[in-house]
Symmetry: C2
Subunit: 353 residues, 2 copies
């Protein structure tokens, strides 16, 4: 069967011919429907992050997948059912405490593999297998957008951690600031507008499709070239919640200034080492005197996938249509990896020639 993969350092994905997998005990065979592309894929392609499985030269890409059960293989799933796979799998040594507790998303990097990213093949192939307990059913209505479940689940987890950090007192947040108008930032805006007055920070010139979408969602665009993060409170209002999806390391620390008292910043970006000066005394004091918090968050667990499936079904109908700007048929998969001005979210459709 055909797959889309990359060799470290090659710099661009290509089609691979690989054997069609056979489901082992407890595994389901899934025919791939669509697989999304995100910033992590681009990091993997650039050779900055992740690795092929040990001993192999290439890595099959893809960690945001939706597919159709081809062979339930004795699991509770039915042939033809739409499913979304989780991403983390136990490392070669077998399960560890995190997997045993059903909290693979809390495993430190060395205690997990990530399909399509680090040490395990992804879902960008005509078929894939997965342990049944790593698959979640999605309704047929939302299945075309099922590849959004994984990125939404990432934010479900981050927002859960953020809310937990404020759960020992009466926290009634009203204002959220999303740092980054990339695809993760934008889908999070769509999640937050239900409850929050949302500001979304970017550095895009109008006209820009992400600005159109976030404004249609009811959020306010903040151009970071005019209003840096620490000035958001005076230019707009302080944020009860900051959600960072830029990977720009200064934002992790500037977010302290953007927060209202008792607020929390959820960090999701993964920057490279970068030294710079901060007024650590002032920021430390602000954290303490105003009971502020910072939570880092990576990956997501089955409960977050379930919440994401629910969330996807509740989005306004126009949103996925406007948000997903490219669904490239397999034969022209390269289009899903292009990042042009009009691009927001892209995916490859494996069952379209």
């Amino acid at each position: 069967m055909k797959a889309i993969g990359v060799e470290p350092g090659e710099g661009r994905p290509r089609i691979l011919e690989v054997p069609r997998p056979t489901p082992g005990a407890g595994e389901v065979l899934v025919r791939t429907h669509r697989v999304g592309v995100d910033g992590t894929d681009h990091e993997v392609i650039a050779g900055n992050h992740g690795s092929p499985p040990p001993g192999e030269e290439h890595l099959i890409l893809g960690h945001e997948a939706v597919g159709v059960v081809e062979d339930p293989n004795g699991s509770g799933f039915s042939r033809g059912e739409f499913v979304v796979p989780t991403v983390r799998r136990p490392p070669p040594g077998g399960e560890n405490e995190y997997f045993e507790r059903g909290e693979a998303d809390m495993a430190p990097p060395e205690a997990t593999l990530e399909r399509g990213i680090d040490g395990a093949h992804g879902f960008m192939s005509e078929y894939f297998t997965s342990p049944a307990e790593c698959l979640l059913s999605v309704p047929p209505e939302t299945a075309p957008w099922g590849f959004l479940v994984e990125p939404i689940s990432i934010s479900e987890k981050a927002l859960e951690l953020a809310a937990a950090s404020r759960s020992s007192f009466g926290w009634d947040p009203e204002t959220a600031l999303v740092l980054g108008n990339g695809s993760l930032g934008l889908v999070t805006v769509a999640m937050l507008v239900e409850r929050f007055e949302v500001y979304c920070l970017g550095r895009s010139d109008r006209p820009d499709p992400t600005i159109d979408v976030l404004e249609r969602l009811g959020a306010t665009y903040v151009d970071s070239r005019e209003t840096p993060v620490p000035e958001v409170p005076s230019a707009h209002e302080p944020a009860d919640l900051v959600y960072e999806a830029t990977g720009y390391a200064k934002h992790a620390f500037e977010s302290i200034d953007a927060l209202a008292p008792n607020g929390v910043a959820a960090l999701l970006g993964v920057p490279e080492p970068w030294s710079f000066e901060i007024d650590g005394g002032r920021l430390h004091k602000a954290l303490v005197m105003e009971n502020k918090a910072i939570v880092g968050s990576v990956n997501s667990g089955p409960a977050h996938f379930r919440a994401a499936i629910e969330r996807l079904g509740g989005f306004p109908e126009w949103f996925p249509e406007a948000f997903v700007t490219t669904v490239a048929p397999f034969d022209s998969f390269e289009a899903a990896f292009e990042r042009t001005d009009g691009t927001i979210k892209t995916a490859v459709a494996f069952d379209e020639p």
Copy 2:
């Protein structure tokens, strides 16, 4: 009656002659037993923090008090009952949402006064009044050490916030690193040794009474001159919980390196502005990839005082005796403000001549 106060800039406390207060409606008259001294008092005395009530020249010191009800004034308290007062009071405009919710500890600085610190007289006088709802009963057995309830409550709140931040997953912390072997750090070591393997970082030379006490508690002393915070994991072990009570701003950021995956750092120090360089990219990435959290915490609420009263009763009997190195009679109160090598925790006894 006599009180101990300070005028901003005067640099040392002195005895004041002030009118004995009369309890208003809903207020209780309390005869002061003992009042503790901590780092905040020294900051107030130095003129770095806090202020007298508006229009007054002096501030009566003291926010760690235990007293005896002299006039219940119709409250549920009985004459002769030992009580501890909370510290925060509504600002001149009256109660705000934080006080209404019983969460004055979550009020931002401008929305609260602090007795003995900022804008309201403290408890270092022969008598004080307090609204009945700001007093908590303490059993006679622990009353001699009742002035420790307030500092313990500060840590109860910080530990509650820290645990809340990890409450959305299965967190089973084993190791704690307390930064600072001052009185707040040391009393927190006493709180944590019940549950944690505890390391306590300081920069004291042996022999030192704080090292003796923390070792008797079963904790391990870490000399920061030999083992800086980021090296604690390699020299000892990574910490599931870091508790910062140094006010040394670099520690707020170095604590990220000291944490185990999924760990949380509780910050309590209040440093002055201080700019320095950090590897913000590396620290940001570590927060995210290992699901780490940082929570700032200030002050404490009635629930934390109740927990602190319980906690104080559970300490080993030798601990308060060893921890409180000075209880100065009122006539020689200056001894409670001296910071000599043998000093850990000090208090003034108002009912001892």
